[in-house]
C-alpha cells in the first residue's frame, strides 16, 4: 500500500497485491500487536504515570500522594532550583553551538575537499561514535584528572596545572566528544546533496566565495543543521552519563537532578515534574523542526546512523 501511495511505475500489480493484503488485515494486526503492546507498556504508560505523579505531592516517606496540585512545578521554579534549570539550558545550548562550530567546517571539508577519501573520512568520524559511550566519556577522566595526562604535559613545559575534572569544562569536552558525530552526519548529508551546479552558477554570475557560501551553500544546508540541532539538543537536555562521570555527579544539570530526586531524595513529584518539563521541551523542539524541515529530513538522517 505504501508503494501504491507513492505511485511507483508498477501500479496495477501492486493494487492487486494490496487487495490481497486487505484480506489479511487480521494477520497484520496480529503481527503488530506485540510491538504495540511493548510501546504501550514501556513508553506510553510510564510517561502517563510520570505526568500523574508530577501533579501529586510528596508523601511523608517519599513516594507520592495522588493529588491535583501543581506544587512540584511551582517548586521547580523555586529560586532554590532555578540554577539547575539555568545551567541545563546553558549546557544544552552551549553544547549544541559547540558541536555545530566543530561539525560544520569538518562536514564541509569532507563533502567538498574529501575527494575519493570522503567515505573514509566520514567512517573515521563514525567509528568513535559506534564504540561505547561510557568508555569514550571515561577516556577523558584519564586526560583531565588532577594528575592526568593534560597536567603531566602542562607540567613538562612549565605551565601550572589545570583542575578541569568535575567541572563544567570537562562536561563540555565530554559533550563535544560524544555528540560531534550526530551533528556532522546530517550536515554532511545536506552538503553532499547540494547540487554543484548551483555553486557553479553563483560563481559564474560573479559572486565571491563568501557570497556564494552565504547565499547558496548555507541556506541549502540549513535543514541538515536543523536535524543536527535536534539530534544534539534534545538528548543534551537530559544528559546524565557525562555530568555523572566528568561533572562530579552533582545535581547541577536537570538529568542528574531528576535522577537524584527520584532515587536518593525520594521526591517523586519533583523528579516527575522535571521529566515532564523535558518532554515538553522535546515536543516543542520537534514541532518547530517538523514545521521547518518536515518528516523526511529526520528519516533520511537517522538512516545514516
Amino acid at each position: 500500500m505504501t508503494d501504491a501511495a507513492t505511485g511507483g511505475p508498477a501500479r496495477p500489480p501492486l493494487e492487486a497485491a494490496a487487495g490481497r493484503q486487505r484480506g489479511s488485515s487480521r494477520l497484520v494486526a496480529l503481527l503488530a500487536l506485540p510491538a504495540a503492546a511493548w510501546y504501550v507498556l514501556m513508553l506510553v504508560a510510564p510517561l502517563v504515570t510520570t505526568v500523574v505523579i508530577s501533579a501529586g505531592e510528596r508523601g511523608d516517606q517519599g513516594g507520592f500522594v495522588p493529588q491535583f496540585t501543581f506544587s512540584a512545578y511551582a517548586a521547580l521554579l523555586d529560586p532554590l532550583y532555578a540554577p539547575v534549570l539555568r545551567t541545563t539550558f546553558i549546557l544544552a545550548v552551549g553544547g549544541t553551538v559547540g558541536c555545530f562550530l566543530a561539525a560544520y567546517p569538518l562536514a564541509y571539508l569532507l563533502a567538498t575537499r574529501g575527494g575519493r577519501r570522503r567515505t573514509l573520512g566520514l567512517i573515521l568520524v563514525v567509528i568513535p561514535f559506534w564504540t561505547s559511550f561510557l568508555i569514550r566519556t571515561y577516556a577523558w577522566v584519564t586526560i583531565l584528572s588532577p594528575n592526568g595526562l593534560l597536567n603531566g604535559g602542562l607540567g613538562a613545559v612549565g605551565l601550572p596545572p589545570l583542575d578541569l575534572l568535575n567541572g563544567p569544562v570537562a562536561v563540555y569536552i565530554g559533550i563535544l566528544y560524544n555528540y560531534l558525530p550526530l551533528m556532522v552526519f546530517p550536515i554532511y548529508v545536506a552538503l553532499e546533496r547540494l547540487d554543484p551546479a548551483l555553486v557553479e552558477a553563483s560563481k559564474d554570475l560573479g559572486a565571491s566565495r563568501w557570497a556564494t557560501f552565504r547565499q547558496v551553500t548555507w541556506p541549502l544546508t540549513l535543514p541538515g543543521v536543523a536535524t543536527g540541532v535536534l539530534l544534539v539538543f534534545v538528548p543534551l537536555t537530559g544528559e546524565w552519563v557525562i555530568p555523572s562521570i566528568l561533572g562530579g555527579g552533582k545535581s547541577y544539570y536537570l538529568g542528574t537532578f531528576m535522577a537524584n530526586q527520584v532515587t536518593d531524595s525520594r521526591n517523586w513529584p519533583l523528579g516527575s515534574a522535571a521529566a515532564v518539563l523535558l518532554i515538553a521541551v522535546m515536543l516543542i523542539v520537534v514541532a518547530v523542526y517538523l514545521r521547518l524541515v518536515g518528516r523526511e529530513g529526520l528519516q533520511r538522517e537517522v538512516s545514516l546512523l
Binding site: M1, T2, A10, A17, S24, L31, A32, P34, A35, A36, W38, Y39, L41, M42, L43, V44, T50, A102, P105, L109, T112, R113, G114, G115, L124, V126, P128, W130, T131, S132, L134, I135, R136, Y138, A139, V141, T142, I143, L149, L180, P196, E200, T212, T217, V234, P235, T237, G238, V241, I245, G249, A259, V262, T263, L278, M282, V286, R295, V302, S303
Partner: protein, 312 residues
C-alpha cells in the same frame, strides 16, 4: 606572476562543488587568492584537530590498558596483568554474565518484535502507520534518562499494585531487558523498514503468481531479502545492551548489575587500571560488532542484483 603556481597550491584536491576556479579567473586577484588559501588552511587544520580530538582519548585508554603500573597514569612498562586481573575478578565476571544474558534476551525480543512490526506497519492503514511512527521516534529521541525514570516509576507503581493482589514481581534482569527492548524495537523497525523500501516487489508478485502460499512466499522470498537488515538490527541491539548504563542503572534490581554499570561505579569510586583493560575489550567488541552490522546494512541498502536487472 601568472596564476599557475597558486592554482597548483592544492594539487591533490578533488573537484568539489565550491571550487572549480579556472586559472584564468583567479589571475591577478592576489589578495583574494591569499584569503582563499587561508580558508583552505583553516579547513585543513580544523579537520586535523577534529580527528586528533576523536582518536587520541581512545588511543590513550587502549595504550594504558597495557600499563604495568598500579597507578592509572604512571607508565610502568608493557604488561597484560590488568587483563588478567579483570578476567579473574568475580566483580567483573558476574556483571559480564548478566550483561550477556540481558544482551541476548534483548536481541531476540527486539529483533523478533521489530521485524514482525515492520512487516505489519507497511501494510497497515495510514493512521496506524502514523501512530507507530510517533512511538518509534519518541522512544528514540526522548532523553534516555526520562524513559528510564518514567519506567522506574511506572513499574514500581505497577509492581506495588500487583503485590497487593498477590503477584510478586521485582526489578532485575527482566525489567532491564524490557527497557532495552523499547529502544531497540524502534531501531530494528527502522532498519528493517528501510530495507523493505528498497526491496524488489516483483519477486514477491512472481512468487504469488506462481501460486506459492503466503507463508512460502514469506520464508522463501521476503525473509531472505530482509535477512541482512534483520541481522544488522540484532547485532546493534546486542551492542546496545553491552554498552547501556542509563536504562540498566534505573531498571536493575539486587544482583542484576551489568558490566557497564560495574564499570560506571568503578570510574566514579576510584579508578583501577583494570578499568582500562575492560574498556579496551569493550571498545574492541562493540567496534567489531558494529562494523559487521554496518557492512550488512550498507549491503542491504543497495538494491539486489535482481532488482537492478529488472529495473534496468
Amino acid at each position: 606572476m601568472t596564476a599557475s603556481p597558486s592554482s597548483n597550491a592544492l594539487p591533490s584536491r578533488a573537484v568539489g562543488p565550491s571550487d572549480r576556479a579556472t586559472p584564468g579567473r583567479t589571475a591577478g586577484r592576489g589578495a583574494v587568492r591569499r584569503r582563499v588559501d587561508l580558508v583552505e588552511a583553516y579547513l585543513r587544520a580544523h579537520g586535523a584537530i577534529a580527528y586528533l580530538f576523536l582518536y587520541v582519548p581512545i588511543a590513550i585508554v587502549v595504550l594504558y590498558s597495557f600499563n604495568d603500573s598500579r597507578y592509572v597514569l604512571v607508565w610502568g612498562g608493557f604488561s597484560l596483568r590488568w587483563y588478567q586481573a579483570a578476567w579473574t575478578d568475580p566483580q567483573v565476571l558476574n556483571p559480564l554474565k548478566t550483561s550477556l544474558i540481558v544482551a541476548a534476551l534483548n536481541m531476540v525480543c527486539a529483533t523478533t518484535l521489530g521485524t514482525l512490526a515492520a512487516l505489519a506497519i507497511v501494510r497497515a492503514p495510514r493512521l496506524v502507520r502514523l501512530a507507530f511512527d510517533a512511538l518509534i521516534y519518541t522512544a528514540l529521541i526522548v532523553p534516555e534518562v526520562v524513559v528510564a525514570l518514567a519506567s522506574l516509576l511506572f513499574l514500581n507503581s505497577a509492581f506495588g499494585f500487583l503485590g497487593d493482589v498477590g503477584v510478586r514481581l521485582t526489578f532485575g534482569i527482566p525489567t532491564i531487558v524490557a527497557g532495552h527492548v523499547l529502544w531497540n524495537l524502534s531501531l530494528v523497525i527502522l532498519v528493517v523498514r528501510a530495507r523493505m523500501a528498497g526491496m524488489d516487489r516483483s519477486l514477491i508478485e512472481a512468487s504469488q503468481d506462481l501460486f506459492a502460499s503466503p507463508w512460502r512466499t514469506f520464508t522463501q522470498v521476503t525473509l531472505p531479502q530482509l535477512a541482512p537488515a534483520i541481522l544488522a538490527g540484532a547485532l546493534l541491539s546486542f551492542t546496545f545492551s553491552m554498552d547501556d548504563v542509563v536504562l540498566s542503572t534505573f531498571l536493575s534490581g539486587v544482583g542484576s548489575t551489568t558490566l557497564p554499570m560495574r564499570v560506571f561505579s568503578m570510574i566514579r569510586f576510584g579508578v583501577t587500571p583494570a578499568v582500562n583493560a575492560i574498556s579496551a575489550v569493550m571498545l574492541l567488541l562493540t567496534l567489531v560488532v558494529i562494523v559487521v552490522s554496518q557492512w550488512l546494512v550498507r549491503r542491504a541498502g543497495r538494491p539486489s542484483p535482481a532488482a537492478e536487472a529488472t529495473s534496468g
